[in-house]
């Protein structure tokens, strides 16, 4: 089927190319060679079959053989160019061999085949350069998009939390100025980390844990006994890097959607484990029991987990993952795994 299409394409385009070649060759020769279709008859009889042959040969070389070699051996850079050039030469050799002499490739043509070859090669190189420029522009655009995406995905301090904290500080000022000052200090620490990491992509996990600890201390002021938490030892996380502001949102989720919705509150525990060159960070929390909750609902667009997963993917590709499990109806476990250099 594909071959038929290619043949038909050649039959249709051949006459057009024949016209082009006629125009190309004409000034160079006093006596136009027979294959150059200056007569209607010559044009109709020769150009279409020649076009078909060209089309089929080029298709076999560039549409079948070379893609097969590329898939099989995955050549890169210079090897690709060499392969293309070889294919090109091979195609021309095949064509010279199969197209009968005389009528199509007579003496006059052979004398000028260098000129034809050069023209074709220049055309080929120009098309190649054009394609390469297009690809480069596309790659640049994709890179810019990825950067913009990271920027858009860049988490920030949750405005809800921010304003609630301002309210807490405001309320503490007259009754417990020391606690108010402490809370301002914590919010300042959090803001510093958030501003600083707006520019950087990956940050040490230890920094993220400090940020999460400041966050938890503020939440404790607000939620009191309703919040219990357990954080990992920051000494154990040397060399682990994660996207900026990716740990605290997990804990904030656990508190806002889990613990804060329970009348008696609950516990959130964060653990970090490493084995060899990988790490995993687990956030486990109590929540209201629900039959409708499923792991999928945690990755709805715009959800913090979706954001974190996207950012991990941009940095680590397939080497990182975010998974949600529901070990009991009233507990949620979120696990972030990735490489630890």
């Amino acid at each position: 089927m594909a071959l038929l299409q290619v043949a038909l394409f050649g039959a249709m385009v051949g006459p057009l190319i024949g016209l082009f070649f006629g125009w190309l060759i004409l000034p160079a020769v006093a006596q136009p060679p027979q294959w150059v279709p200056f007569t209607l008859r010559g044009w109709l009889v020769f150009a279409a079959p020649a076009g078909t042959m060209y089309s089929l040969v080029f298709y076999s070389v560039f549409g079948l053989a070379i893609p097969y070699i590329c898939r099989r051996y995955q050549p890169s850079g210079a090897a690709r160019w060499l392969l293309g050039l070889t294919g090109w030469t091979a195609a021309l050799l095949i064509l010279t061999a199969i197209l009968p002499n005389g009528e199509w490739f007579g003496e006059a043509v052979r004398a000028r085949s260098i000129r034809i070859l050069m023209t074709m090669t220049i055309l080929f190189v120009l098309i190649g350069m054009f394609r390469a420029a297009l690809d480069r522009a596309k790659a640049q655009r994709a890179a810019a998009e990825a950067r913009a995406q990271v920027k858009a995905l860049q988490a920030q301090i949750n405005p809800h939390f921010y304003f609630n904290t301002l309210n807490t500080i405001y309320a503490l000022i007259p009754v417990d100025p020391t606690a108010a000052q402490r809370t301002v200090g914590l919010l300042a620490d959090m803001s510093r980390h958030a501003f600083a990491s707006a520019q950087s992509d990956l940050v040490p996990l230890a920094q993220e844990l400090d940020f999460a600890n400041a966050y938890l201390e503020i939440e404790k002021v607000r939620l009191g006994d309703r919040l219990q938490c357990k954080m990992p030892d920051a000494a154990n996380v040397e060399g682990i890097h994660v996207p900026a502001l990716s740990v605290q949102p997990l804990i904030e989720n656990a508190i806002r959607h889990g613990i804060a919705r329970r009348l008696d509150g609950g516990k959130v525990s964060v653990e970090v484990e490493r084995s060899g060159t990988r790490f995993s960070l687990t956030v486990m929390n109590d929540c209201e029991p629900s039959a409708e909750r499923s792991a999928d609902t945690f990755f709805r667009g715009g959800h913090a987990l979706d954001n974190i997963r996207e950012r991990l993917r941009l940095h680590y590709g397939d080497r990182a993952s975010v998974t949600v499990t529901l070990p009991q109806p009233d507990a949620v476990v979120v696990t972030v795994a990735g490489p630890a250099q």
Partner: protein, 246 residues
């Protein structure tokens, strides 16, 4: 005196609100609640004219709680950030305050409360109900009922049917019943979006638990539920029930 109730799950925020309100001698804080269930439990004794209500609450959402008050008082929402959540209400003469609450802004809200309270209560109640029904798309996540003196929250899925027994309305789960102060008509309206259907003057069933429709005497039917309870379907409701059961 304007009786007021403060609802906020953070103690610091509650106390702060009470302090801010103490600058207004005409306001008397009758109760401070930390969640919606406490409000449902205490609303009868504290009889507030106005509730200062934080939207984010554990247990029962602010909107589900309001939908379950028989005679909701005037509401002033307080929120740290989600202004959009109360936009729907603002247009309906119900105020909101953004945290941290500024005393001048609070004075304005109290002014508005006073003006509203001067008008007939029914007027305000109907405005609030309309706003709530526009805002709360879909069924409530939880319905409050009583087990003895305690308030429990039932998810509509757990409720098999609602029935009047000795002039008290009961919500029936698979093996327990819970009393409620609401009328059967109110519950019919509240639970209709959750897939409930009125089957007689005295009963509503959860269609998800209806298993069989059995012919009964002279054109009436009985509906059999998942726990084998059989309830009588009145003649005039039978057609609707049949069409809804498909």
């Amino acid at each position: 005196m304007i009786r007021c109730l403060i609802v906020d799950d953070e103690e610091i925020a509650r106390e702060h609100m009470a302090r801010l309100l103490s600058a207004h001698p005409e306001i008397g804080v009758t109760y401070k609640a930390s969640n919606g269930i406490e409000v449902l439990q205490r609303i009868e004794d504290s009889k507030p004219d106005v509730i200062f209500l934080d939207i984010e609450m554990p247990g029962l959402t602010a909107f589900d709680m309001l939908a379950q008050l028989r005679h909701p008082p005037m509401i002033v929402f307080a929120t740290a950030y989600d202004k959009y959540a109360v936009d729907a209400f603002e247009a309906n003469a119900i105020d909101y305050l953004l945290k941290p609450i500024q005393p001048a802004r609070l004075a304005k809200a109290i002014e508005k409360v006073r003006a509203t309270l001067a008008r007939p209560r029914e007027e305000y109640e109907s405005i609030l109900r309309r706003a709530l029904s526009e805002f709360r798309a879909g069924p409530p996540a939880k319905v409050a009922a009583r087990r003895g003196r305690r308030i429990v929250l039932l998810s509509p899925k757990e409720i098999l049917y609602v029935r009047i027994e000795d002039e008290i309305v009961f919500l029936h789960s698979a093996n327990e019943r819970f009393a409620t102060d609401r009328t059967i008509a109110e519950l019919e309206e509240l639970l209709a979006p959750a897939g409930f259907c009125r089957i007689s003057r005295s009963a509503i069933v959860n269609l998800a638990h209806a298993q069989e429709l059995l012919p009964w005497s002279s054109g009436t039917w009985k509906v059999k539920l998942s726990n084998n309870t059989e309830l009588e379907v009145s003649r005039e409701r039978a057609r609707e029930l049949k069409s809804r059961l498909g």
